[in-house]
């Protein structure tokens, strides 16, 4: 199969969990990587080594372990900056996850007094200002902007979707206008799989002086991402979807913008000096990193991006596309399956949400699980996108660099079994 990673069997050996068998002796077929990815041994080892040999708090411990821990933490930031082609390491801010990163942006913009972009100066946000998002966003890129607009009186506007799961750009000239202050959208949809034309949208947004925020939670794991080329002013992703640990997310932002945003959380580490009447704040990145950061998680994340970078992001993208195409073919071979979103692999990322006629997604996932096949069922934190297509919930399979064609076969076979189990095979109703 063209596009597959040439060393797929070697790569699989890097992930100890893939050796697992589940109840009934079924080997694990892990197709829930858009939810969270599995972790290679090198990430596990890096974290264990840090905890066993270098553990100390960062930046404030005046001893050798403190110096080692601080060096490891900041080396991770260097690695992530390099991985994203960030112009400056200081523009890489560690958060708890992508949700917190998006909340950081929306929350600080809520309180920002004045923001200057290359084409506009505005603030504080209020009536008449507009924030533009899309109907395919994850709830984490919806709710923070609802909070911002409710708190400031600004208006929340939405890109609609076309029937084939693309952004409806027909009204872009009206949606992006001189009142638009923020355009925040996902690069790759976690439900529809759609890969959005973010550079073009960013170009249009910048013409009116709007800030462009990209949720790259599903993009960074599976395609080359160069923040300077992306058009983003701010780009966020989460560590645990790029083979790293949970508990750490990344916010990259242009220094010129980050310097204008007020602090997010107040506390230790984010200050220059504190007096009883007022405090002054540290520069980026520490301004946005109050409190003890996720240290061992940062070490794990650094190891993770080193790992996927060594495999090669272009190669991972090719692999995902090959597996996705194969899975789409497999799904098309069964009756009564409706795939949501774009129908061809090159238009989409490695997550495929689908409906099975007359069987609820929960029941699909339950029967698949009894065969060792792990998928996700539900609304995938994208209720507006489901509502757009008149679907309450769906089943989603999502692959990653360790996914094999044989696993896709097992998935399709288990799906056929599910239809037989519920007696809906060949049901044409």
């Amino acid at each position: 199969m063209e596009g597959l990673l040439p060393d797929l069997e070697v790569i699989r050996k890097d992930f100890p969990i893939l050796e697992r068998t589940l109840a009934g002796g079924h080997p694990l077929v892990y197709l829930d990587s858009a939810n969270t990815s599995q972790k290679p041994q090198v990430v596990i080892d890096a974290m264990v080594d840090h905890l066993e040999r270098h553990n100390a708090n960062v930046a404030r411990a005046m001893h050798q372990l403190g110096a080692e821990s601080s060096a490891a933490f900041e080396a991770s930031r260097d690695t992530v900056a390099r991985f994203l082609n960030a112009p400056s390491r200081d523009e890489v801010i560690y958060t708890k996850n992508a949700s917190e990163a998006l909340n950081l942006v929306a929350s600080t913009l809520t309180f920002a007094q004045e923001i200057s972009t290359e084409a506009a100066t505005f603030g504080p946000l209020g009536e008449g200002d507009e924030v533009l998002i899309t109907e395919m966003e994850h709830h984490s890129n919806i709710v923070p902007w609802q909070l911002l607009t409710q708190r400031t009186g600004a208006t929340l506007r939405w890109f609609g979707l076309t029937d084939d799961g693309q952004l409806d750009l027909s009204s872009i000239d009206e949606l992006i206008n001189e009142r638009t202050r923020v355009v925040s959208l996902t690069w790759v949809s976690n439900m529809l799989g759609t890969v959005n034309p973010v550079r073009e949208i960013a170009r249009r947004a910048h013409e009116v002086g709007a800030i462009v925020v990209l949720d790259a939670s599903q993009a960074v794991p599976q395609m080359p991402v160069d923040v300077q080329d992306s058009g983003a002013d701010i780009l966020v992703f989460t560590g645990h979807k790029v083979t790293g640990p949970t508990g750490i997310g990344v916010l990259w932002g242009r220094r010129a913008l980050l310097d204008q945003l007020p602090p997010f959380l107040g506390g230790g580490e984010m200050i220059a000096t504190v007096a009883m009447e007022r405090s002054t704040y540290a520069g980026i990145p520490h301004k946005f990193e109050a409190g003890t950061p996720p240290i061992v998680e940062a070490v794990g994340l650094g190891a993770a991006v080193d790992y996927i970078d060594s495999v090669g992001m272009a190669a991972i993208r090719a692999h995902e596309e090959a597996i996705t195409a194969y899975a789409l073919d497999g799904l098309a071979s069964l009756p009564g399956i409706t795939v949501l979103g774009p129908q061809t692999a090159h238009e989409r990322g490695g997550a495929i949400a689908f409906e099975v006629d007359s069987i609820h997604p929960h029941d699909v996932a339950q029967v698949l699980d009894s065969r060792g096949v792990a998928v996700r069922a539900g609304h995938h934190c994208a209720k507006p996108a489901h509502a757009r297509f008149g679907v309450q919930s769906s089943t989603r399979m999502s692959s990653y660099l360790y996914t094999t064609p044989a696993e896709v076969d097992a998935f399709v076979e288990a799906l056929a079994y599910t239809q037989r189990y519920f007696g809906t095979t060949g049901a044409s109703a």
Binding site: H26, H360, P361, H362, D363, S370, S393, Y421, F422
Partner: protein, 171 residues
């Protein structure tokens, strides 16, 4: 690749459950009713609108009708259907005892032997208790019934029989 399903799967998907799923009893929203509630399962998006109609007051209150519109998986749909069969026509205090028995079964992690005399078709859900992720599916309608019944009893200690709160079509 034609292995038999794990025993667990068949204990979850009992014939009774699949029968109720395919042919739900007492489905649809009906008048009269004194309380209507809308419950959702936020993790999966299952939704249920449920109406309760009580007749008589105080200790004599009887569950005259439970009607519903639901969207959800086989477990939640079947649980709703079975619940209406069990509760309609019973005095509220008896229905509350059945509710308590079903809750205990669901929270028993598969260790409780269900009492068929109390739970009827509800005993088919004993296997669900072994699937922690599905317990909330089975309980959605039972929680909604309790919520609605509490609203009726709390708001109107002696509900007037056959009086609909208003004639607006809410469904």
């Amino acid at each position: 690749m034609s292995q038999m399903p794990g025993q667990d799967l068949d204990s979850l998907y009992q014939e009774i459950i699949l029968d109720h799923y395919k042919r739900p009893q007492n489905a649809g929203l009906r008048d009269p009713f004194e309380a209507e509630v809308h419950h959702v399962n936020p993790t999966c998006g299952d939704e249920l609108t449920l109406r309760v109609h009580l007749e008589g007051g105080g200790d004599d209150a009887v569950v005259a009708d439970v009607s519903y519109a639901a969207e959800g998986c086989s477990i939640s749909q079947a649980a709703t259907s079975v619940m209406t069969e069990l509760l309609i026509g019973r005095p509220v205090h008896e229905a509350a005892a059945v509710h308590a028995e079903f809750l205990a079964l669901m929270h028993g992690r598969g260790t409780i032997e269900p009492d068929e005399d109390v739970l009827g078709d509800g005993i088919a859900f004993a296997g669900v208790a072994k699937f922690p992720a599905r317990v909330k599916c089975a309980l959605l309608s039972w929680m909604a019934w309790k919520d609605a019944t509490t609203q009726v009893l709390g708001a109107e200690p002696t509900p007037t029989p056959s009086q609909s709160p208003d004639q607006e079509e809410q469904a």
